[in-house]
């Protein structure tokens, strides 16, 4: 598929999503959805989206599961950071630690970084295409434990998605 066709396909999909979200099918809104679709697809690299209709329910379920996992992790990390903030001594030892994810594919690296950024006390500052990640953490004295924990999170996540 040529880049131009991909852009048209993407514009169409974005317009449909916008219309479904606004729930308003008046001509003005239809035109506006197309304008938004064109605007967004001109900003990103045109990419052919191969939609496999048979796998769509599984993919949607995986996305929903990932979001629930993110919500649970966000809750845990907020409680942990909140406890540090409310402590009068403010017990932080910030630092940047190195994590070797050992992942190969771009998607796996991106998902790992995304998930680790929300695990308690960690935030990815820098990463590269070879899977080397650098995480800022609130308590770097337990860096090795944090790395082990992050690897655990990552492995669980990836096994769920690419089973």
């Amino acid at each position: 598929m040529s880049p131009r066709n991909s852009a048209i396909q993407m514009t169409f999909l974005l317009a449909v999503v916008y219309l479904l979200m606004t729930g308003n099918f008046e001509p003005v809104n239809l035109a506006f959805s197309v304008i938004i679709g064109i605007g967004i697809s001109s900003l990103v690299r045109p990419q052919h989206l191969s939609i496999q209709w048979r796998r769509l329910p599984i993919a949607l379920a995986a996305i929903a599961g990932y979001l629930i996992f993110l919500l649970a992790d966000l809750w845990k990390s907020s409680i942990q950071v909140g406890r540090i903030l409310l402590d009068p001594r403010l017990p932080i030892k910030p630092g940047i630690i190195h994590i070797d994810s050992g992942c190969e594919s771009e998607l796996a690296i991106a998902l790992s970084a995304h998930a680790i950024s929300i695990t308690p006390g960690e935030l990815i500052v820098e990463m590269d295409h070879r899977g080397q990640m650098y995480a800022h953490c609130l308590d770097s004295s337990q860096a090795e434990e944090l790395i082990a924990e992050a690897q655990e999170v990552r492995r669980n996540l990836l096994s769920k998605i690419f089973e």
Binding site: M21, G23, L71, V81, G82, L85, I96, E126, S140, A143
Partner: protein, 114 residues
């Protein structure tokens, strides 16, 4: 007697406000941009998630739209925190009270001054 949806909505409203205030407390107490991102990126965004959940119960916002907004917020928050942290490191904003910095050997051209 209030309807049950109002009670749940009010509970979410209180939780959301509490977490948002905790995030602001983090902004004030923590020393530098990286540690502050932990407070705003996690605690405050959880506050926003709870406030959206409260809006589903208390305002005419439809459930589907509210859930989509929560999902987009959950996906966007870590990416935004990472983008700000990465940009801050690249322009050389120092890590206050830093214990270790494994990244400094990796990016030698950028010298964060402590």
């Amino acid at each position: 007697m209030y309807p049950i949806s109002q009670i749940i909505g009010s509970l979410f409203l209180i939780l959301g406000t509490a977490f948002s205030m905790l995030g602001i407390l983090g902004m004030l107490r923590l020393p530098d941009v990286y540690t502050r991102l932990h407070a705003t990126g996690k605690v405050s965004s959880l506050g926003a998630v709870f406030l959206l959940a409260a809006a589903i119960f208390l305002t005419p916002l439809s459930v589907g739209k509210g859930l989509v907004l929560i999902g987009l917020l959950l996906l966007a928050t870590p990416a935004v925190s990472h983008a700000i942290a990465s940009a801050a490191y690249r322009i050389g904003i120092p890590i206050k009270a830093g214990q270790r910095d494994d990244l400094r050997t990796r990016l030698p051209k950028i010298k964060p001054h402590e």
